[in-house]
Amino acid sequence: MSSLVSQARARAPRLAETAVEKARLTLVPTRRTAAPRAPFAVLVFAILGAGVVGLLMFNTHMQQASFYATRLQARADDLTAKQQKLDMELERLRAPQRLAEAGKQLGMVAPGVPAFVKLGDGTIVGTPTPASPEDAVRINPLPAELPPPLRPDPIIVRVPAPVTAQTATQATPVQGTTTQGTTQAPPVQGTKAHGTTRHGTRAGAGR
């Protein structure tokens, strides 16, 4: 390289010397151009961090949703149960037995003879017949029978028919003593009469 320069210097006029001097290549210190690592590391950590945080948030969210789902499921179960309970209640209210009891309280009985009114022209089909007590059906079971110890044999008192008003008044105290403390005093007569009729029906039922 120095020989080349010397040749050029030999040939070139002195005038170009400065230019040549300027164009001379010299060694420059090597520049270290390593890319800055910090941004990359930050980026990697950021991605990592975001991933972890995202995953964490996703998981938390899932958990939260799971709690919510559990809560909603419990509520749905509860509401379903409530609906079923209401349905049950409705069915009980609709039951023919309850309707019949309600009707009976209003004094209704099932008609013995069907009859219809044609709404179109108002004509009556069938034989309209007023319902009678005979059409009534006992809709409630008979009361359960008492066990024998609680069901003593009825006391039957045969009362001789009064012949005259005088003998009748004489007979009254006798009757009172025979029926085990049954007095014929007017104020209690009503209740006692009830008692005797009940005995009477039981006696009939026993036969």
Partner: protein, 597 residues
């Protein structure tokens, strides 16, 4: 930089040694690690895999049975006769509830309408069972009620009361159709106790599922293990029963059976045209919600299981056969003597009379045994048996209920002159109530017998029988003309002044009917012990039948008769049906047949 690194690299490579050495060392380490893994793998999978799997499962893995909902039993209009609701049982740990038993019992008793002392006893520690940590407080409580009661207890600061799943089978009607539906036993979920609940258990029950999942803190872990076998819910069973008619029939029947002090009774209402059973009532019956409170004998249907001699109702079948065979007409004249000796016996009528002159219509209207026996002499040998067999006597109706009796129609080879005579008026042959109703319905349906159905559509019983309205079959038993003639003769029964049961007629309607008062064979002596079965069968409107009703009351005490005891039951049920289904009177002139000559 390169210059400064070089010495470090040099020292490191020296420390690492040559690549060959490094490879060899790495291989050895790798082989050791892999063999450790291998040993562990053999240990886990080869030696005792199940114990480890179970251990893993136990860790936070919850397995919940998903119970299938049992199908409902519905009536023909969709009203539920039996339905399942999710329920809970309330259980207590007496060890924890003992201290505050009074307070807890007060809350439970008021909220669940239980007996206070009963609950108190369950919450207290039982000296007979020391250390018991489980006690039932209440079973089959609706879920809302149970949860709110337990919540109230927890709010009050008491512990030891909890709930568990306990499905409730609810019968909204109580005893309505209980004889058909059956019941569920309280202690077992799949344990059924008879009736349709048992014969259609496979179809109603469905199939339970199961769900397995991981939990943490009471909540499901979202991405955890999760397997689910979905439950298959049971199918609904729809009956041909009309709930209202069934209820009314049961009440009317109960009133009559109790009034007659009878042993039992059955009432059946059929749709004459389709054979659908609209009502099948039994008394005594039971409350399906509390089957344990009734005697075991009352838990089934006596209409199907009870076998008895039908008596005079059967005369209409005898007459139907005679008319079909062309041997007689309703006006055929019969001279009925006071008594009729047959073989070694003498046959009487229920009413004393001298020799009377009745037409065949009169024989039915007055229910004369002697007249029927005389008429039945027109039959060729074996012919009566053939007709009774065609009418379905001695064959199960197979409607899908368990425990049906076949009845008894003696084999024709064993028939004697006496058998022929008694069979003609319904003694010496045995039936169940549904068989008899079906036979009478054949006359209502113009001589064509329809097999009765209880199930709408089709369903398969647990024993593999296919039943239902879809499988109902029809067969001709007697000609339409013969059936119409029998129907007109039966109309005379409810005609004032002519028949035995004018009280069974409904004003404005043409009602065909027949009374029956049959002697019954006692259980111990195998002879007629004086007990009776009074019955009434019939249909309306007689010229265009819509409903057939059959009522039988077993062993009434005192004076009872088919017309007087069973007749009013028949009339009330029939009137109710005609009104409910809006069947107007046909407005045709009633049958006027001579009964005497």
């Amino acid at each position: 930089m390169t210059r400064s690194r070089r010495p470090v690299a040099g020292s490191r490579s020296r420390w690492r040694g040559s690549p060959e050495v490094r490879l060899r060392v790495g291989l050895i380490v790798l082989a050791m690690v892999m063999s450790v893994f291998g040993v562990r793998l053999v240990q886990l999978q080869g030696l005792d895999p199940k114990a480890y799997a179970a251990k893993a499962n136990a860790e936070g893995l919850v397995s919940v049975p998903l119970s299938a909902t049992r199908g409902s039993i519905l009536d023909r209009n969709g009203a539920p006769l039996a339905e399942s609701v999710s329920g809970l049982m309330i259980v207590a740990d007496p060890k924890r509830t003992n201290a505050h038993a009074e307070d807890i019992a007060r809350i439970l008793a008021t909220r669940l309408h239980l007996d206070y002392f009963d609950v108190l006893g369950r919450l207290r520690e039982d000296p007979n069972k020391p250390g018991a940590r489980f006690a039932y407080v209440a079973r089959r409580v609706p879920a809302t009620t149970a949860r709110s009661a337990v919540a109230a207890i927890e709010k009050a600061g008491f512990k030891g009361v909890d709930t568990r799943l306990d499905p409730v089978r609810d019968y909204p009607g109580g005893d309505v159709a209980a004889n058909l539906i059956g019941y569920m036993k309280a202690d077992g979920q799949a344990d059924t106790g008879g009736g349709l609940e048992r014969s259609f258990d496979a179809m109603l029950a469905g199939k339970d599922g199961r769900e397995t999942y991981e939990v943490g803190g009471g909540n499901r872990i979202p991405l955890g293990e999760n397997t689910e076998v979905k439950p298959v819910n049971g199918k609904n069973l729809t009956l041909t029963i009309d709930r209202d008619v069934q209820w009314y029939a049961q009440r009317v029947l109960r009133t009559a059976v109790q009034g007659a002090k009878a042993e039992s009774g059955a009432a059946i209402a059929l749709d004459s045209r389709t054979g659908d059973i609209l009502a099948l009532a039994d008394y005594p019956t039971f409350d399906a919600n509390q089957p344990g409170q009734s005697p075991e004998d009352d838990l089934g249907s006596r209409a199907l299981s009870n076998v008895y001699e039908p008596g005079s109702v059967e005369k209409v079948l005898t007459m139907g056969g005679l008319l079909d065979a062309g041997k007689v007409t309703p006006r055929t004249k019969v001279r009925v003597p006071k008594a009729l000796p047959v073989a070694d016996r003498v046959i009487h009528d229920y009413f004393p009379h001298d020799t009377i002159r009745l037409t065949l219509a009169g024989v039915i209207a007055k229910s004369s045994n002697i007249g029927t026996v005389l008429a039945a002499r027109q039959y060729a040998p074996g012919q009566l048996w053939k007709y009774l067999d065609l009418f379905g006597l001695g064959h199960r109706t197979d409607i899908g209920l368990p425990g049906e009796t076949r009845g008894l129609l003696p084999d024709p080879s064993t028939w004697t002159q006496l058998t022929q005579a008694t069979a003609s008026f319904g003694q010496g042959v045995s039936v169940n109530a549904l068989q008899m109703a079906t036979a009478v319905n054949a006359i209502a349906n113009g001589g064509e017998l329809i097999t009765p159905s209880l199930i709408q559509g089709r369903a398969v019983t647990s024993t593999g029988n296919v039943v239902g309205t879809d499988t109902a079959s029809r067969r001709r038993v007697i000609s339409q003309q013969a059936a119409e003639k029998v129907s007109r003769m039966m109309e005379m029964v409810t005609t004032e002044g002519a028949g035995t049961a004018p009280g069974a007629g409904i004003a404005g309607y043409r009602v065909a009917g027949k009374t029956g008062t049959a002697q019954q064979v006692g259980g111990t002596c195998k002879c007629y012990d004086g007990s009776l079965a009074v019955s009434f069968a019939g249909f309306a409107p007689a010229d265009n039948p819509r409903f057939t009703v059959y009522v039988v009351i077993q062993k009434p005490q005192g004076s009872a008769s088919g017309g007087g005891t069973a007749g009013p039951v028949f009339r009330k049920i029939l009137a109710y049906l005609l009104q409910k289904y809006a069947v107007p009177p046909t407005n045709t002139p009633p049958a006027r047949l001579p009964v005497e000559w």
